[in-house]
């Protein structure tokens, strides 16, 4: 079972939801994803997704001073991002219900 293919579409929605909860940065997003069970999430796999979300104007990145020293990019959700998150969750519930009804009927 190729988990990566399944994860591709889901990860963007989950990243946006994490950013929606509070302003955050790459490493923290990875840690939160891993805490939620996405153990394969790494900063290297996350970065291209964050870049894409920024280009789509769903998130906005701003460089700020960090306690560690070098400036860090902090992300917040845009208005388009907020709409995307609610729509994502709606679609997810629909898909989940459909899959459940197929497997539940086994």
């Amino acid at each position: 079972m190729d988990k990566a293919q399944l994860m591709k579409g889901i990860l963007e929605g989950c990243i946006l939801k994490i950013i929606d909860q509070e302003e955050t940065y790459g490493y923290e997003i990875v840690t939160r994803l891993q805490d939620y069970g996405f153990t394969d999430a790494k900063e290297g796999t996350l970065y291209p997704l964050l870049l894409r979300l920024e280009k789509k104007k769903l998130i906005q990145g701003v460089f700020k001073e960090s306690p560690l020293g070098p400036k860090r990019k902090y992300y917040t959700l845009t208005q388009d991002g907020e709409m995307y998150v609610s729509r994502f969750y709606q679609v997810w519930k629909e898909v989940e219900a459909s899959v459940e009804s197929i497997f539940g009927g086994r």
Partner: protein, 223 residues
Amino acid sequence: MIRKNNLEILKEENVDRIANMGGEMWDQLAPVFRYLSISMISEFEIESIKKDLIGMAEEAELQHISLEEKLGIPAKEFCEDLIQSVRRDGGGKSKAGEICMVFLSSVVRTLTFFWVLDNVFFGEPGRINLFSIWFAVILGAIDVGALVALKFAFDRRKRGMIEVGGLVLILICFFYGGIRNSFIVISRGWNLFLGMILIAATVLTYGIQRWYWNRQSQKYEWK
């Protein structure tokens, strides 16, 4: 006063931060940068990505871990995924235009330089040195080569050495080469007209580049 465009400002910022980086971390980062630089994605996007990666590398240094440990995946895999992702989102479309812009700008600037040298400093108005044209094209090609494969563009010392070496070579060719023998002689009127065209073209290409890079910078959170 010639003001820097946003691409030049971002490049300088990246070079300054790299200069403060440890050698070991730079050795890990350099291949990633090289890989990005020879990919056909927009120049501003490359510099913007480099800024983010430099930040990750600086954090990795403070955490005493390698860049690959920070990324969590091999650097090559990271680069391939990143470039694929950027190109899928249309990130490579403007590269050809950028290369043409750099080439033309370099050729025009060099031709103007030689025209001014011949007419103002050497008092040889009306004589177009064919070497100047050849040299301008060569320098334009070098600038394009530097854009496409920036091996030394972010290593200040090497870049400085190459620039000084190039300047010395240019001066040697200019003063001692026997190549300054092929001329086209034109009338005074045409010579002035040519000079005006070249100066106007230099100003125009400077303005176009500045406008283009500043416009590109609006797509990215680079400050």
